[in-house]
């Protein structure tokens, strides 16, 4: 085992980048370029930020802009580099019993709450969960997590979609993981019911840590990785396809 090996960069990242299979591709390309081995723990964005706060990783790749900015303001992070985006989609049964197809997200969620239709939430402080909470706010309410029809699962994205499929309910997912799920037999009765609404955009960033707070973290490589993600890594992101579809769209500031 090479756990004592020197050239390792530890990243805390989110389940969506792991589940879609993007990370191994990025890691391989980055290793070719720099000789540094990228390793990661895939957790929700909330926990990834917590891991960063504790200096238990060297670099973060997350998708919850509001929480990230707060993280930088608190002095835990040093820099935030926007690298790519995809979007969230609202998934539901093909039959769409709540009849929300084509509505705006805010109206759709209001309707779901009115109808008490089953809604599966990540409930794990992940980027997707934070986005969902913000969407409920935009629908003029707090997430109804005391309600029986609101299922707060605390599980990863794929698991939540499987729950929604089992219960014939609705679920907010990132498009990348949905495309992965769509190819599974469990997804045969599920479809996208709402997409393309402006609040559904999902921005990913790389965050480097504050060297004063985490003297032991490998800042040089973390910076190199952030820089690489914003330059050569952009093409790797654009070329990454699942089931022939592009999942992430590079948008680093030139």
């Amino acid at each position: 085992m090479a756990w004592a090996q020197e050239k390792v960069l530890m990243m805390a990242t989110t389940t969506s980048t792991e589940d879609t299979g993007l990370l191994p591709v990025l890691a391989e390309a980055f290793k070719k370029k720099s000789g540094v081995e990228l390793r990661w723990v895939a957790v929700g964005t909330g926990k990834a930020l917590e891991i960063g706060k504790n200096c238990d990783a060297d670099v973060l790749m997350v998708h919850a802009p509001a929480a990230e900015k707060k993280f930088l303001e608190e002095g835990a992070g040093k820099a935030r580099t926007e690298i790519m985006y995809n979007d969230f989609v609202l998934i539901g049964p093909k039959a769409d019993p709540a009849k929300i197809k084509g509505k705006s997200v805010a109206d759709g969620l209001k309707t779901l709450a009115g109808q008490k239709a089953v809604f599966v939430s990540r409930g794990d402080k992940s980027g997707t969960h934070m986005a969902e909470l913000a969407l409920w706010k935009s629908a003029g309410m707090d997430a109804p997590d005391k309600e029986a029809w609101y299922v707060s699962s605390g599980q990863g994205m794929l698991q939540c979609m499987r729950m929604a499929a089992e219960k014939g309910g609705y679920v907010l997912a990132d498009r990348g993981t949905w495309i992965k799920f769509e190819a599974m037999p469990e997804a045969k009765d599920m479809a996208i019911v709402i997409e393309g609404d402006a609040p559904l955009r999902n921005q990913y960033s790389v965050i480097t840590l504050n060297a004063e707070k985490c003297p032991k973290a490998k800042h040089e490589w973390a910076e190199a990785f952030a820089k690489w993600m914003a330059t050569e890594g952009q093409k790797v992101v654009a070329d990454f396809k699942v089931m022939g579809k592009q999942l992430f769209f590079p948008n680093a500031q030139k």
Partner: protein
């Protein structure tokens, strides 16, 4: 039903084709388990022996404590070890979080009380005349310890088997402290949790079969040792 059959077929496939991901998970499991058991045995056997053999004030309290720790929730062990090994924790400097040795530390804590308590029980049940006999035969302290442990081997072995069973099948500690990192700290159990979460049931069941095979093999080996040692 088809899930199960698919899983069994897939297990054969994975093992026969030498699937690198499966073997890396098997290696991580074996490594963490071996490290944890070695540490727990090195501490637990002598401690259990002393607890069972000597009479001293507070012995009963210690024994009760050890028995209570046997029922310690694994999730809490995971949390404690995570907090201790995190960079913000007292042992953060060692950089053990998200590594196999870090994981082994948590697993060793899980195995230790079991080994201590069961060894102590086995030693307590030894005939008091055994010690005299060993002494008259001119045994020194080390030989005395080994001699008594040897005579109590069946009880001790039961403790080892039980501890091994818990350590090899533990998922919470491995997930929390190890971090489920592919090629490094992804063990069979955390891989099963991940694959099931992704809806890859066949893969999960296949890995489960592999885990089952490992436990069976180790248990079989221990049973064999017992027989060679002359069953009672």
């Amino acid at each position: 039903m088809s899930y199960l059959l698919d899983g069994i077929a897939r297990a054969g496939e994975l093992l026969a084709s030498g699937d690198p991901e499966t073997f890396s998970a098997v290696a991580a499991t074996l490594e963490a388990t071996a490290l944890a058991m070695a540490a727990a045995l090195a501490l637990g056997l002598p401690a259990g022996f002393c607890l069972g053999y000597f009479r001293f004030p507070g012995k009963r309290a210690l024994r009760t404590l050890s028995d209570a720790f046997m029922a310690f929730p694994t999730v809490v062990i995971g949390l404690l070890v995570y907090a201790l090994l995190s960079r913000r924790g007292p042992f953060g400097e060692m950089g053990l979080l998200f590594t196999v040795p870090g994981m082994a530390l948590g697993l060793a804590l899980l195995a230790l009380p079991m080994l201590v308590s069961l060894t102590a029980s086995a030693v307590e049940q030894m005939d008091a005349r055994l010690r005299l006999t060993l002494r008259t035969l001119g045994a020194d302290n080390r030989q005395l310890l080994l001699g008594i442990l040897w005579e109590a081997r069946h009880g001790v072995m039961a403790g080892v088997v039980a501890a091994f069973g818990r350590v090899v099948s533990e998922v919470g500690i491995a997930m929390m402290v190890g971090g489920n990192i592919k090629w490094h700290t992804r063990t069979i159990t955390t891989a099963i949790a991940l694959e099931t979460g992704k809806g890859e049931f066949a893969q999960g069941i296949a890995l489960g079969m592999v885990l089952l095979a490992i436990s069976m093999a180790v248990n079989g080996l221990l049973a064999l040792l017992k027989r060679r040692g002359g069953a009672r």
